[in-house]
Amino acid sequence: MNLHEYQARDLLKAAGIPLSDGDVAVTPTEAEAIARRVGGTVVVKAQVHVGGRGKAGGVKLARNPAEAAEYASQILGMTIKGLVVNKVLVVPAAEIATESYVGLILDRATQKPVFMVSDAGGVDIEEVAAKTPEKITRLAVDPRYGLLPHQALKLALALYRDWDQARAAMKIMHQLYTVFMTNGCSLAEINPLVTTPDGKVLALDAKIIIDDNELDRRPDLAVLRDESAEEPSEVTARRANLTFIKLDGNVGCVVNGAGLAMATMDLVKYYGGEPANFLDIGGSSNPEKVVNALKIITADTSVKVILFNIFGGITRTDDVAQGIVTATQQFKVKVPIVIRLTGTNEKEAFRILESVGMTVLNDMDAAVSQAVALAKAAA
């Protein structure tokens, strides 16, 4: 789960990390009041879960409170990459002497939290990693012992030679590690960590991703989810316990299992089509899930054909068949449906579907190529 910048700032602030002043606003009036309180030039930043906010016009420099209100009214309600902006962060435009990057990620290879710090901050860290990897210092932390003092010192000295700044940075490393471990993060990032002309070390922007698997046992974190900032169809899917991601094509896919779902999308592409979505109905197969899946997919008007690819293991294919029949009785599906079922209880599944006049295939390649052909004919 991605947090908004203002939510990430709140977590850092609670851990004692020095941050610029500022607050979040949902109206231009609130933005104006924050700008007046912090004084001077401020930055008004769209709070939305996509990159490239600045390029899209979602980040503006305001010289006074009136300008802050004006920019806030422009940014609030605007759409960036399909997502509506409902909140803006208003922070003072800090004077910056140096910019660094500090990130903590959960690393697959070492199976530990790993710090990445670089004094080439303020830019895209992936670009730094690709072009000048020697400018990044990496350090894996053993979670049994936590971040050790000499490790924090090494990280701090990679950023600053000034001893006061290094000491301040050391403290921030410990604080960021605490934020990471106590909030079940898979990423916690300060970019940039700046020094001001008078020598202070300050976090200017923060990004935090929380491991979705933490949310069941951490209701305090689960409430941070901002559903208004997500694709509505993806919210509906999550509430129905489905994993759904909208894509740009026209072949709607309903599959059980993430790996098979991706392989199905790949096969759609292989046969010259474009998948409209990723949709995993998961392992258990109550017919209601299938009905919800069909509702979500048929709501997308670009979908020209719906392709079911179900390999019954734990999933009973007769349950899926029953779901398809129930759904098509509940509401009219206007596009053709291509169904591939194989595995557990497939005889019963075929009987259910054929009894209502639907044809069923049991080969994945045959079903995908048929679906692609139908999509092309309808496009």
């Binding site: 199976q111 698997n213 933490e214 299992g257």
Partner: protein
């Protein structure tokens, strides 16, 4: 004819009285797996399906039944504790099926089991099957048949799809191992490849990867240097959009490492047969196995 599980396996099911645990325990028994014990704290003394004793702890189960393999079907918040309990009871092979285990829990589990010499498969995996001998997990036994092909995969149903093609075309399996799709898993491709390479009954290896991370590239590098047996491979997620999570926590592309194309390039460089589609496994294996 196997790696890690077979006729000699004496299995204990942790969470045997739960909904998932009881369903799959029955399936494993029906397949012929030697299921010797179940564990559910507070339900010790019962008998499962009129023949399997249930214990309160894994240690009690091991003392009474000499179980040598554990499979875990407990809720996500209890999974780390269940793995650690099995490790402390002296179980050398632990398979964790549970999906949704917090990743930070796994950072603490890994050094714990490493110190005790335990092999962990998973979490969030379909488990293993040695066709005709033992099934530990949830892979449907009906689609498998004994034979010379070793299969290792990060996914579940996609594994079944490939096994279905294998069995349907006369290629039986030595062992199928689903290592799981989470960012931190106990057993990686290289561990399984090493075991298949040393297993006299495995003549060819099928490897099913996914986008995200660099495990496939590292496996390809290992194959190039150490694996003499023919390997064919697939990577799911060729069409996945960058930076989006596709169901498995593992399947997220971030940065430059982790796209399907990069993995295929690594496969090619290592001499691994490239499956562009799951069905391609058939022709590729025909060309390497008489």
């Amino acid at each position: 004819m196997s790696i890690w599980i077979g006729k000699e396996t004496r299995l204990v099911v942790q969470g045997i009285t739960g909904r998932e645990g009881s369903f799959h325990a029955r399936q494993m028994m029906e397949y012929g797996t030697n299921l010797v014990a179940g564990v559910t704290p507070g339900k010790g003394g019962r008998t499962f399906e009129a023949k399997v004793p249930v214990f309160n702890t894994v240690a009690e189960a091991v003392a009474a039944t000499q179980a040598n393999c554990a499979v875990i079907y407990v809720p996500p918040a209890m999974a780390a504790g269940a793995i650690e309990e099995a490790a402390d009871a002296g179980i050398p092979i632990v398979v964790c099926i549970t999906e949704g285990v917090p990743v930070l829990d796994m950072t603490l589990v890994m050094p714990y089991i490493a110190e005790r010499g335990v092999r962990l498969i998973g979490p969030n995996c379909p488990g293993m099957i040695t066709p005709g001998e033992a099934k530990v997990g949830i892979i449907p036994g009906s689609i498998c048949t004994p034979g010379p092909v070793g299969l290792v995969s990060r996914s579940g149903t996609l594994t079944y799809e490939v096994v279905h093609h294998l069995t349907g075309n006369g290629f039986g399996q030595s062992t199928c191992v689903g290592i799981g799709g989470d960012p931190i898993v106990g057993t990686n491709f290289i561990d399984v490849l090493t075991a298949f390479n040393a297993d006299p009954k495995t003549e060819a290896i099928v490897m099913i990867g996914e986008i995200g991370g660099t495990a496939e590239q590292e496996a390809a590098e290992y194959i190039k240097k150490h694996v003499a047996k023919p390997v064919v491979g697939f990577v799911a997620g060729q069409t996945a959009p960058k930076g989006r999570r596709m169901g498995h926590a593992g399947a997220i592309i971030s940065g430059s490492a982790g796209t399907a194309e990069e993995k295929f390039v690594a496969f090619e460089a290592a001499g691994i047969g490239i499956m562009r589609r799951p069905v391609d496994v058939v022709e590729l294996l025909k060309s390497v196995l008489k």
